[in-house]
Symmetry: C2
C-alpha cells in the first residue's frame, strides 16, 4: 500500500492511498480557504451517565448537494474546489470539515454539569473516485485496501495518547441521514471508550474470564454449527445474522481468529474478511434489487495500548428497512427503554439472504 | 374519574375513562373476531447484555389506514368494526392487537443464547374521540385525566408481580414511525426494568446516596436558578431544555416534589404537571407552526413494591426535527457508540422555545 500525506490550504490533513505509487506533486484542495473554527464541547449527562457532544459549526454542513457540487469527487482544473485532487489514487482520508470532535477544541464552559473540550478526531474516508459506486460493488482488492486503510488510521491514532477508541463506520442511504451520496465512510476517534463499545467490551471480558474463551468466538462457533443463520462461510472469515439480531436483516462479519483489531490481521485473513463483507453487502442490495440503507460499524479493541484479549474485531451491519418500503423505526421501546422489538425471526431473514445470489 | 372495564369479542380488555358517569350497556368491539395469536419470545443478546423481543405477529399490523378505516375512532352502527364503541367517554385503554409483549406468551425455544417467553403487557391509550386533535391541543382537564389514567394503569400493573416496569409513551408523527394518526399513546409493562430505565435509576440512586438529595431535584434547582433553559415555571411543576440535551429541542417536564410515580401526585401537582406538559407540547408545535414529531416518555419508579426514593417521576420529550425540514438522525456515533452529537446549544434552542407564545 502506498500513501501520501498532504495538508489542505485550511490546515486539514489529507492522506491518499493506492496500490500503485502515487504521482508526486498532487496538491490538496479544500472547499474553504479559511480554517473552519470547530470548538466542540462535551457535557456530562448525569441521568444517563454519559457524555453528549455539542458542535454548533455542524449546522452549516453540506446537505445533499447536486452532483456537480459533490465535494468528495476529484477536482478538475477550473472546477469549483472539492476535498480531493485529481490523480491516480484509490482511497482518500481527510479531516472532516464539520467535525463533532476536534483536537483543536478548548471550550470548557462552567455549567451545572461537568464539561470538557470535545477533543478527538473526525475523518472522512472516500472509498473510490467513482461517485456512482458503493462499498459492496467495489472490487475485492479495493475492499481489502479499505481494510488496510482503516488499520493504518488505527495505527496513526494509537500514537496520540488523547485518542482512546476508534470507530470506523458507514452511514449508507438518505434513510439513515446521509448528506453526501459519494461512497464514503467516517472515522471517529474518541477521547474515551464510548458507552456502547465499553458495554460490549465489558460483556466480552466477562465471558472470557468465565469461560476461558472469547464471546464472539463462542457465538461464531454456535452459528457455524447451527448453520441456519450463516450468510458467508469461509475458512478465515464468516458472516451471519446473529441469533439475537435487533434489526431484521442485521449481519455480523468477522474473522475466525479473535484478532483484537484490523491492524492485527494477516493478508489472507484480510482478503477473506473483505470477501465476507462484500458478500454481505451485495446480498443486502440484492434482496429487493435496491440499495439497502444501513449503518456499518467496525468494532475493535480500544487504543489504550493494553492487550484486550477479549476484543474480537468485527463488523456489525444494521439495515434500516424491514421490508422494501418500510423502515425499522426506533421508537418508544427501543429509544426509551432499550428493549428492541424485532417483528421477524433471525432464522427467517437469514434464509432470505441465503437465497440471494451474488457475484463476488 | 369514572371507569368501566369491558372485554372484547377476541378476549382483549378495554377500559373506558370519563369525568362523567359512563353510560351502561356499552359493548367493546374489535376489528377481529378471533384472538390474535401473540407468542412473542425474548432472546438474550450476550454482546450488549440485554434482551431482544421477537414478535412476528406484528408484521401484520395496521399501517397508516385511510381515515374511514381508522381503528381508533368510535364505531358507528353499520360501520366496519373499530377498537372502540360509540358513547360518552373521554379516554380509552385496551390491549394492543399487535403486542410486543404478552401475558399469553409461552414460547421459549432452545437456542445458543438464553431465551424466555416475551411476557408483559402492551396497551393502547386513546387520548380523545377526535381523530384530528393532538395531545397538546386537548383541554387541560383532559390532559389531567390522561395523567390519572396512566396512574390507574400503573396501579393495576402493580397487582401483577410479573410486571416490573411500566413505561407510558407517545410516538407522534410519521417521522418517528407512527402507523395510526388518531391521537394515542402506548403503555409497555415489562417483565424487568429495561436497560435505559435501569441505568437512569442507578444514576439517580448513586446521586441520592452521595448527595443526600435526588438527582432530578438537584438538576431542576440548577435550571430554575440559571433560568436560561426554563420553558415553564410553575409552583409545583416545571419544564426545561436540560443542560445536557441530546436532541436540539429536548424537554423535560416534572413536578417540583420528587414523587416516585404519577400515582403519588396530589391533585394540584397533577393539574400543574398537565399545564407544564401542555405548554411544552404547544411550544414545540408553535415553533415552526407545524406539528412537531416527537417521542414522549414517562419515567417513574419500577413496579417492584420497593420505595425508590431515588426515582423522580418526569417526562422526557425527544423532538425529531432539528430544523423545519430536517430530521435529527441517529446514525454512527449515536447508535454505534452512544455519544450523541447535538449541533445546537440547549441555551439557544431554549431561547427559541421561550419566544413561542401559546394559549394554555
Amino acid at each position: 500500500m502506498h500513501s501520501v500525506d498532504l495538508i489542505k490550504p485550511d490546515g486539514r490533513e489529507l492522506t491518499l492511498y493506492s496500490r500503485r505509487p502515487i504521482p508526486r506533486g498532487l496538491a490538496a484542495p479544500s472547499p474553504r480557504t479559511e480554517r473552519v473554527v470547530a470548538d466542540p464541547e462535551l457535557r456530562w449527562h448525569p441521568l444517563r451517565g454519559e457524555w453528549v457532544a455539542y458542535a454548533t459549526h455542524r449546522q452549516d454542513r453540506t446537505f445533499l448537494p447536486p452532483a456537480e457540487y459533490n465535494p468528495l469527487r476529484p477536482m478538475s482544473s477550473g472546477d469549483f474546489p472539492t476535498e480531493l485532487p485529481a490523480g491516480d489514487y484509490d482511497v482518500a482520508v481527510f479531516d472532516n470539515l464539520f467535525p463533532t470532535l476536534s483536537l483543536d477544541a478548548v471550550a470548557q464552559p462552567e455549567l451545572s454539569v461537568p464539561t470538557r473540550p470535545g477533543r478527538g478526531k473526525c475523518e472522512v474516508v472516500v472509498f473510490t473516485q467513482d461517485p456512482q459506486a458503493s462499498l459492496g460493488q467495489l472490487p475485492l482488492e479495493r475492499i481489502e485496501l479499505i481494510l488496510e486503510v482503516w488499520a493504518d488510521r488505527e495505527r496513526r491514532c494509537r500514537k496520540n495518547p488523547e485518542l482512546r477508541y476508534l470507530m470506523a463506520f458507514e452511514n449508507r442511504g438518505v434513510e439513515v441521514g446521509v448528506t453526501l451520496h459519494h461512497p464514503h465512510g467516517q472515522i471517529y476517534a474518541y477521547p474515551f471508550v464510548p458507552p456502547v463499545a465499553e458495554r460490549e467490551l465489558e460483556q466480552q471480558a466477562r465471558h472470557l474470564a468465565e469461560k476461558g474463551r472469547g464471546l464472539l468466538e463462542s457465538m461464531l462457533e454456535s452459528e457455524l454449527e447451527e448453520e441456519t443463520r450463516v450468510i458467508y462461510r469461509g475458512s478465515e472469515a464468516h458472516a451471519f445474522v446473529p441469533v439475537c439480531a435487533r434489526y431484521p436483516y442485521e449481519l455480523w462479519v468477522l474473522p475466525a481468529r479473535p484478532a483484537p483489531s484490523l491492524s492485527k490481521l494477516g493478508a489472507s485473513e484480510r482478503a477473506e474478511l473483505a470477501r465476507a463483507l462484500k458478500t454481505s453487502l451485495l446480498k443486502l442490495d440484492g434482496l429487493w434489487k435496491r440499495p439497502m440503507p444501513y449503518l456499518l460499524l467496525l468494532r475493535q479493541a480500544p487504543l489504550d495500548g493494553e492487550a484486550h484479549p477479549e476484543a474480537h474485531v468485527h463488523f456489525q451491519i444494521y439495515p434500516a428497512l424491514r421490508s422494501p418500503g418500510r423502515l425499522k423505526y426506533l421508537a418508544g421501546t427501543e429509544l426509551g427503554a432499550g428493549l428492541f422489538a424485532n417483528d421477524s425471526k433471525p432464522e427467517d431473514k437469514a434464509r432470505e439472504l441465503q437465497a440471494v445470489e451474488v457475484q463476488v
